[in-house]
């Protein structure tokens, strides 16, 4: 049951996010029937599921909400921003509620009550919808029914047995059955597969009329069923039962009037209690959503296991290829080659399974922009582009918080108030753009606003004030902006509720670094700010550049490599280790030294140009071996302090190579060189 509860919570969370998305779409266009149907359906499904899993509060809640949207759908109520506001609030509340179902929190309880009252207020004045099943079963009072059941002639042929139905009926309460067979033919014409008997049932039960109807839903159309309820319940005493049973078969069927006579009660059935088929006016909804048909849901653990096995396969395949190359058996070579092709395809396919579009994040952002801009009295539009760009599932999950934080910053600090904007000649409406696109094995996400921009002077002043840099530091513009990501840095003049939640931009950067990604800021005071985030497509299998340092082999992630050069060692100046490559001056770090390797080559250096925080940095190695498909394996506990490595991989010949985490490696190297050399003099741009 626990795992089911888990499935329910997961499903409910998905439904709420679907609800939110549909609500936001509906808010943009109150005439949009599709969104309305989506809202209604999500609510309905949530209601049904929550009632089954004991979330009765959620059930009550969604029931009331559903009534509102039913009325909207039928046109008896008009959609207003107020209703949407309230629904969104309710969706948020439900989200918290489901996460914390014990709801011992008094404030949640209180909010539940006020929200429910508000929602109910919309519902009063509407025609009441059908009673919920809860109300139906919650009525414990006894009632007496007269039920006349004339089975269709063919009922036995269809495989049903009327006696079972009568059994079902009597299970509902106390009663007696009076059979009648007024149309019984003579023995010679009797057809044993035809039902000639009809029944009258007197039933005293706590169940509702609907429950009685339920019993007869097994019966095909040809049968006649009449259910009458006595206004005042009549206790079926033993004497009364006997009185009925004593009636002669020829007197039967008795009919309602006669039954009443026998009961000596003068009662008329309540109006409307008889079963009358009403013509349904509701149309069945069949939205044209075929896309969902072709997908299945698989638990992420299964996917992880698949990825893991494919990683193993890739490694094994590499070993096989290597072995076969040495053997020079033509046929085996051909087979291995085609196998390696298939393995590669398999790997790519398995990858794409784990990729999900950034879209899934966008809903949250849209909501954030909407809520925050309202709260701050700003007018902001979020424009998204390329949100169908896909990223690994695990990357998306971890990307959410950093992006949300940046978004908050854009809304809070970036975009100015409408008054301020019109003063500086901008349109009152601020724009935030979120764009995503693929670039090689990277995905680039840019988040830009057309707000006030960031003044580098202010950053510098603050950094000096906070002792992050010395007062005489010479920093390039990009370096200045990178200071924003230093721990303990905040430019907000007052810590506001929105962006100042004790989390700084340093958390954003750290979050992205965990994903092996990077961030660069571009800003122009008065024009706006642009954050460019670079992320690897996936975390588990990467293309790497195999290099040799000392006696060991290392891997540099290929997506960070810009260019490789061969340089005589004499060209590398010994003090600042600066070099000019293709007209750009950049610092070069000798990895052999950094790793304290012995026997490093000295006459000729291979310099690899890397990109780091928007700048170019070189690292020198002894030899470049070539490209290699790297299956990243985590390093063990012993190595957890070794930040400059993101993992290890097994090479074709079975040896282990460490994989560099370029950002952390360069960060460390740069900060070490800063310690050695005066910060102000080191300029790596």
């Amino acid at each position: 049951m626990d795992s089911l509860q888990h499935i329910f919570i997961q499903e409910a969370t998905e439904l709420l996010s679907e609800l939110e998305e549909a609500l936001l779409a509906f808010e943009n266009n109150l005439e949009d029937r599709d969104s309305m149907e989506r809202i209604f359906r999500a609510m309905h499904t949530l209601k049904g599921a929550s009632s089954m899993f004991g979330f009765t509060d959620v059930n009550d809640f969604t029931h009331e909400l559903e009534s509102i949207y039913d009325a909207l759908r039928e046109g008896t109520l008009k959609a207003t921003p107020g209703i949407l506001e309230l629904t969104l609030e309710a969706v948020d509340h439900l989200g918290e509620f489901i996460k914390n179902p014990s709801h011992e929190d008094e404030s949640i309880k209180k909010r539940q009550k006020t929200l429910l009252e508000k929602i109910k207020a919309y519902n009063t004045g509407l025609t009441p919808t059908a009673p919920t099943s809860i109300k139906e079963t919650g009525n414990p009072s006894l009632a007496t029914f007269y039920i006349s059941f004339t089975p269709g002639k063919d009922i036995l042929k269809n495989g049903s047995n009327p006696l079972y139905l009568l059994e079902d009926l009597l299970e509902l309460g106390k009663g007696c059955v009076l059979p009648a067979f007024p149309h019984l033919p003579g023995f010679d014409t009797l057809d044993p597969t035809t039902c000639y008997t009809s029944f009258e049932v007197l039933l005293e039960t706590e169940h509702s009329e609907a429950d009685i109807e339920d019993v007869f839903l097994f019966v095909a159309d040809g049968s006649g069923i009449k259910i009458e309820r006595f206004v005042k319940p009549v206790t079926l005493t033993e004497a009364l039962r006997q009185k009925f049973l004593d009636t002669l078969p020829s007197e039967r069927p008795l009919g309602l009037e006669k039954v009443k006579g026998l009961m000596e009660v003068e009662e008329l059935p309540e109006e409307g209690q008889a079963v009358v088929a009403k013509n349904s006016t509701k149309k069945n909804i069949l939205p044209e959503n075929k896309a969902s048909l072709n997908s299945i849901r698989v638990s992420s653990e299964k996917l992880d296991a698949l990825m893991n096995q494919i990683s193993e396969l890739v490694t094994t395949q590499a070993r096989l290829s290597m072995l076969v190359n040495g053997l020079e058996v033509a046929e085996l070579g051909a087979i291995t080659e085609s196998m390696s092709k298939i393995t590669r395809k398999l790997r790519d396919n398995a990858f794409s399974i784990c990729l999900i579009p950034i879209d899934t994040l966008v809903v949250r952002f849209q909501r954030l922009v909407r809520d925050l801009s309202k709260e701050l009295g700003k007018n902001i539009e979020l424009i998204t582009e390329g949100t169908d760009t896909e990223l690994d599932k695990s990357v998306i999950e971890k990307l959410s918080d950093p992006l949300l934080h940046l978004m908050r910053n854009c809304i809070d600090h970036g975009i100015e108030s409408p008054a301020e904007r019109s003063r500086s000649g901008k349109s009152e409406k601020g724009t935030i753009r979120l764009e995503a696109y693929n670039s090689g094995t990277n995905v680039i996400i840019t988040l830009s606003d057309d707000g006030a921009g960031i003044d580098p002077g202010k950053i510098r002043a603050r950094a000096i004030e906070r002792n992050i840099i010395p007062a005489d530091a010479e920093l390039s513009e990009q370096e200045t902006y990178q200071l924003l990501f230093e721990a303990g840095f905040s430019t907000a003049e007052t810590v506001s509720d929105i962006s100042g939640r004790g989390v700084g931009m340093d958390v954003v950067k750290r979050g992205l670094e965990d994903l092996h990604g990077g961030i660069v800021i571009q800003s122009e005071p008065g024009k706006g700010t642009k954050f460019t985030i670079r992320l690897p497509l996936t975390l588990s299998i990467i293309d790497g550049l195999l290099v040799e340092i000392g006696e060991n082999t290392y891997v540099i992630p290929l997506h960070r490599v810009e260019k490789c050069y061969e340089i005589p060692a004499t060209l590398l100046t010994s003090i600042h280790q600066q070099i000019v490559l293709d007209g750009t001056r950049m610092p070069v770090f000798h990895l052999g030294e950094a790793l304290q390797c012995e026997n490093t080559a000295s006459t000729l250096n291979q310099v690899i140009k890397l990109e780091y925080e928007g700048k170019e940095v070189g690292v020198s190695v002894d030899a470049i071996i070539g490209e290699h498909q790297v299956v990243l394996k985590p390093l063990g506990h012993m190595y957890k302090e070794q930040e400059e490595f993101s993992g290890a991989t097994i090479l074709g010949d079975g040896t282990v190579a460490l994989v560099f985490d370029i950002d952390r490696l360069l960060k460390k190297l740069i900060s070490e060189s800063v310690k050695n050399v005066n910060y102000g003099k080191l300029s790596y741009q």
């Binding site: 089911l4 499903e11 499904t45 009673p131 839903l217 009403k278 909804i285 969902s292």
Partner: protein
């Protein structure tokens, strides 16, 4: 005995599935009417339990489709739904639904009904 459970809510599908499996029924699952029909073309089942409100094809339409198919004569179809309106029930009855169970349902009640139909 094979039962096809049709519901767009995964948790309900699982719940019904588990309930039935605990009594030894073989359970197949579909997320909507279209999927269910697709499933029925390849697999023979003894009972269909379906939700009413679903995307793509709702429960009543599913019943109608099943009843149109001569090969599936006598296949019982139970509706499992939060809806309890008489009009809806009647529509379902006319479409040829075998029975109706209102959500929330007790697991033993569901089993009792299924047992009755499949005896």
């Amino acid at each position: 005995m094979k039962v096809l459970v049709v519901d767009d809510s995964e948790s309900i599908r699982e719940l019904v599935g588990m309930t039935l499996e605990s009594e030894g029924y073989q359970v197949h699952k579909s997320a909507d009417g279209v999927e269910a029909l697709d499933h029925l073309t390849s697999t023979e089942v003894d009972l269909v339990i379906t939700d009413l409100n679903m995307p793509n094809m709702d429960g009543i339409s599913l019943v109608r489709e099943i009843r149109k198919d001569d090969a599936k004569t006598g296949l019982p179809v139970l509706l499992l739904t939060t809806e309890s309106q008489v009009a809806k029930k009647d529509e379902a009855r006319q479409a040829g639904a075998t029975g109706w169970i209102v959500k929330p349902f007790a697991q033993d009640r569901l089993l009792a009904v299924v047992k009755k139909i499949l005896r």
